[in-house]
Every structure is written in structure tokens, then in C-alpha cells.
């Protein structure tokens, strides 16, 4: 089972991807909390791709059964790329008195999903993330 979306950069288009995650997640029997976590992570990945990718975004949703039943979400853009290792997890203590409150997308993705892989180079970035179908969170 696979869903592929080609999203133009228009306001709130990330909700189309979130709706696809919800629909496929329900069809695959995912727990509601898992669906909502995957939806928020997908929204964040789409927003990053649209902000930094500079063009349309491709979203792929795939059911995997290699080790355990999982939903794989891929968000791909054709931007200049970045070094994911240079983007450590944000810490919630950063909030206190910090003038800039942006830049939480990758941290949320890593915390809300069960596994995340980022492949990035000039002209192509893919954020690949997995949510186990059986987990409640």
C-alpha cells in the first residue's frame, strides 16, 4: 500500500499530507495517538521542505513489514540541502528568555517518530521517518 503526493507550495498544503497520513493510518489500523504524532511530524517535514527546498514537495507514505509493521513517511525536496548532524536536538530549556522560538521542526520530528533518517545533499533532501503501527504513542 503506497500513497504519493506532489504538493505545490501553497498555504496550508501540509494539511493534505496530514490528511493522507490520517487516512492511511486508519486503514492500516494505527492507534489514534500514533496517527496524530505522525501527522504533526509530517506537517513539520513539509513546512521545512517548503521553506528551505524552494519548490514543490513529494510525500510518500508506505506500509513496511520488514521487521515489524510500520508506516514509512518520506518528504523530499530539491533544495540546496543541509548537514543534519549539525542540527542537534533542541532542548526545552532553550525556551526561557530565548528571543527566537523557531527551528523546532527537526526536533519534533525526531521526538514524535520512532525512527528518522535524513539524506541531504545539493539538489535533494529526503526526510524518511517511521512510526510503528502497533504503538500507542
Amino acid at each position: 500500500m503506497e500513497v504519493v503526493l506532489h504538493l505545490p507550495v501553497v498555504p496550508n498544503v501540509e494539511l493534505v499530507a496530514a490528511k493522507a497520513v490520517e487516512t492511511l493510518g486508519e486503514a492500516l489500523g494505527m492507534h489514534r495517538n500514533g496517527i496524530e504524532a505522525a501527522s504533526v511530524a509530517t506537517v513539520e517535514a513539509c513546512l521545512n521542505a517548503m521553506e528551505h527546498g524552494g519548490g514543490s514537495v513529494v510525500v510518500r507514505l508506505v506500509r513496511e513489514d520488514e521487521t515489524m509493521p510500520r508506516l514509512r513517511v518520506e518528504v523530499e525536496d530539491k533544495g540546496p540541502g543541509f548537514d543534519p548532524d549539525a542540527r542537534p536536538l533542541n532542548d526545552s530549556t532553550r525556551v526561557d528568555g530565548c528571543p527566537s522560538k523557531r527551528g523546532w521542526g527537526l526536533t519534533l520530528i525526531r521526538e514524535l517518530m520512532d525512527d528518522v533518517q535524513i539524506i541531504s545533499g545539493p539538489g535533494r533532501t529526503v526526510v524518511r521517518m517511521w512510526k510503528d503501527l502497533g504503538r500507542e504513542r
Binding site: L15, A18, N33, V40, L47, W104, L108, E111
Partner: protein, 122 residues
């Protein structure tokens, strides 16, 4: 999943205490709508606010950033911000971004009102 338009209402619930209900997508526009409602209530004498997110299923980090800014402004004025009726994912997002360190979070509106002002009747 969530309507991009946010359905929002705001009122002075009791002296110095305001209640905002927001249902929809908390993105930059939804977050700003909550911020505008909060600013209006503060201007009407509310030092403390409860934001009820019943019906909100999805948020993004930009929307939460705006909620953080509301919280900081209230705290600067000696007030406080509280939330209720969060989905587990939204509660976890608040925890990851540190919002729950400074804002109280309650399971539902009734619990929040009884703890914050001792009554559920506005």
C-alpha cells in the same frame, strides 16, 4: 484531520480571568488568532488566561512558538497561561518545546477552572 480555519471564541470568564477556546489548525495564523484574543482579554483586565484546545487535533511548531510568546508576555505582567483538553500529541509537543514548564496543563476545562479559580461557572 483539521480545518485550516480556526474556530475561536474569547471572553472574560471571571474578574481577571479570561477563557479562550480554539478549535482548528494552530499554525502561524491560528496561533496569531489566539495571540490577538489574548491581547484583547489582557486589555480588558485579565491577568490569567485558560486556552481550551478541545477540537484542535493538529498544530505546528510555528503556532506553538506564538503560544510561547503569549505566555512570556503574560508572565512579564505577573499573570499566567494555562491550557486544557490537549491531545496526547499536542501535550507531548508542548513538553518537547518547553511550554509545559511555564504553563499549567489540565486534562479538561472543568478541572482547569476548579483548580484555577475554584468554580466552573462563569
Amino acid at each position: 484531520m483539521s480545518d485550516p480555519q480556526i474556530d475561536l471564541s474569547a471572553r472574560v470568564f471571571s474578574e481577571g480571568f479570561g477563557l479562550i477556546t480554539a478549535s482548528g489548525y494552530i499554525n502561524n495564523e491560528g496561533g496569531q488568532a489566539v495571540a490577538d484574543a489574548a491581547t484583547d482579554l489582557v486589555g480588558r483586565g485579565c491577568k490569567s488566561l485558560l486556552v481550551d484546545l478541545e477540537g484542535t487535533r493538529i498544530i505546528n511548531s510555528i503556532g506553538v512558538s506564538i503560544l510561547l510568546e503569549i505566555m512570556e508576555k503574560l508572565m512579564e505582567g505577573g499573570g499566567e497561561l494555562a491550557f486544557c483538553s490537549l491531545t496526547p500529541t499536542i501535550a507531548k509537543t508542548f513538553e518537547i518545546m518547553g511550554l509545559d514548564q511555564y504553563a499549567q496543563v489540565f486534562s479538561d476545562r472543568e478541572t482547569a477552572l476548579s483548580r484555577l479559580i475554584g468554580t466552573v461557572d462563569g
